[in-house]
Amino acid sequence: MATATADIQQKSERASVGRWASIVQRQGVLIVLVLLIIFGALRYEGFLSPYNIASVLRYNSMFALIALGMTFVIMTGGIDLSVGAVAALASVVAALVSPNGLILGLLAGLAAGIIAGFINGWLVSRFRILPFIATLAMLLAARGIALILAKNTSVAVSYTSNFTTLGQGDFLSLPIPAILLVIAYIIGSIVLNFTSFGRHVLAVGGNEEAARLMGLPVENIKLAVYMLSGALSGLAGTILAAQFGAGQPLEGIGWELHAIASVVVGGTLLTGGVGSVWTSLVGALMLGLIFNLLNFENGRGVVSLSAYWQSVIRGLFLLIVVALQSRLTRSRET
């Protein structure tokens, strides 16, 4: 089988380009994040202070949780536009239930998210409605229901129960949302890398027809990822309510697109089939850190860049990553 070996050697050059590409794709964003952190640490006093780290993590945990769910959806080749509205709905539901304590409040928020995710998944997998349209409808519906439940205003959470601990509390001097975030990502990573479900999610997104021929339950896998995305949106919404002391029916506008941006910046292909959960976390943190760095820069008072630059910079990051990805995928095709 000498010919085969020669072939493989020949191809390994091509493969090494692919590997290099995937390193840039996978680790590039991590490198950027580390550079941003080093830059911040050198330039700004207090950047690495426990307080700043805790507050960055506390605030961005919501976005990162949503990005985790979005990652799974996108890996199947779908998209979930409803995450922000579902988070708002969950925040209202959780706030309404909050007098009954943290556990019930949390369960209520999660349940709201899972139900919404189930409907999304059902529409996509059973009725074959485009994910874009199905979740767009859910976005409107969840927002509407949130407003109705909240009677068009924010719903104060109970401060007498222990509910606010979820958003404001610390455990071993670590913010609880950050702990939840890490736990969620560890579980997400295990699910993706060490369970059949995780691998099948990637197979469905990589080649749906092949997945079907391989006997995978494609429809149920799709249903499950939307439910997962709903659950994580629900968790994020519950944290939102606990952190800011109110269920906020109008919060979460545009979160879906920022979550998508986090996922894409992290290197997960929007066409599905490829992805890692950690890069989405890195992507979400990087996008969040841009805001934090701008605050510090303005705090120095030398240059005044308004906070609004963050969107522009985020957009630029997205452009660079997308341009890079499209070049890489194209070089791979040839």
């Binding site: 998209i79 199905a134 976005l139 519906a141 509407g144 407003l147 998508i260 985020r314 997205l318």
Partner: protein
């Protein structure tokens, strides 16, 4: 190996009749829905058939209808434009910046006002061409390509205005949103003109046919000599230009420009109007009038529920149901 993929002629013809019959319902489904909504209001909503009510509804629907018209073109080519709301914010920021600037105020208003409008719209058009370039030549998925400006565009508007509210009070500058030639709100006229031109373009021009051909079968269109990249570019540019116009209307109505709010969520409203109007998101087919009807339906639902004391919020849930129904009807059609 497509040995039996071509159905026999008999089958095709047999299917043709119910197919067409069904397609009538589907093409007119949105219109029927609109008429039902309209009649319902005639009978059950007080003071519905007054010029006042009519104008209120038309005024509110104008910006969505204008943006959705551009969105229809983009979707017809098989794409999508998420950046429309952010582009509205950009034009809404730029026009008053020029108008209120010292140079602007120093010049004759007859020069300043058209100039500020023109520059604002041209800039959003240029951003549209950026979207189009990424999609057509960069071969980047439209969702991602336009997501870039969705995020960065509003930021640009905010940076330009430093996030400040720009207020103004000049009937000429705000004519686009406040003018009432012959008692009819100017933006309503503008909307009707734009919708009519777009419908006409889709029906009577080479461009309209090329748009449908690109979305309907890109490789066939290419082999027939259709300049697919230029057509895609054009669709995104038009979407950008129309978003710019819509942004101007919004700030004129408000007598102020708030980069944080102008055009917020517009991409979703516009896409919803397109979907409800009967244009499939998969491209290749488009109905401008349908989109217009779709926008009117969404508006009338909101109005009807409000008029009967049901909050805006419930209207959103109803809208959601309508989008799902419209999507299912379309799927039926494809089957």
């Amino acid at each position: 190996m497509a040995n039996v993929s071509t159905p026999a002629p008999g089958t095709t013809r047999r299917l043709a009749v119910p197919d067409r019959w069904r397609s009538y319902i589907e093409s007119y489904g949105a219109l029927i829905g609109l008429i039902i909504l309209f009649l319902y209001n005639v009978f059950f909503t007080n003071n519905f058939l007054t010029a006042q009510t009519l104008y209120v509804n038309l005024t509110q629907v104008a910006t969505i209808a204008i943006v959705a018209t551009g969105m229809t073109l983009v979707i017809a080519t098989g794409g999508i434009d998420l950046s429309v709301g952010s582009l509205m914010a950009i034009s809404g920021a730029i026009a008053p910046l020029i108008f209120l600037s010292q140079v602007g105020q120093g010049m004759n208003l007859a020069v300043t006002i058209p100039l500020s409008y023109l520059i604002a719209i041209l800039i959003t058009g240029a951003f549209g061409s950026f979207n189009g370039f990424l999609v057509a030549y960069g071969k980047i998925q439209p969702i991602i390509a336009t997501l870039i400006l969705y995020i960065a565009g509003r930021g640009i508007a905010q940076v330009l205005t430093n996030g400040n509210l720009q207020t103004f009070n000049n009937p000429v500058f705000q004519y686009i949103g406040m003018g009432r030639p012959a008692g009819v709100p100017f933006q309503v006229i503008l909307m009707i003109v734009i919708v009519a031109i777009a419908a006409w373009v889709m029906r009577y021009t080479t461009f309209g046919r090329y748009v449908l051909a690109v979305g309907g079968n890109e490789s066939a269109a290419r082999l027939a000599g259709v300049p697919i990249n230029r057509i895609k570019m054009a669709a995104y540019i038009i979407s950008g230009l129309l978003s710019g116009i819509a942004g101007l209307i919004v700030i004129a109505i408000n007598s102020s420009s708030d980069a944080n709010l102008v055009g917020l969520n517009m991409e979703l409203d516009a896409i919803a109007a397109v979907a409800v109007g009967g244009t499939p998101l998969t491209g290749g087919r488009a109905t401008i009038i349908g989109t217009f009807i779709g926008a009117l339906i969404m508006q009338l639902i909101r109005f009807t529920l409000l008029a009967h004391g049901i909050p805006d919020a419930a209207a959103m849930a109803v809208k959601a149901a309508i989008i799902v129904v419209a999507a299912m009807v379309q799927l039926r059609r494809q089957a």
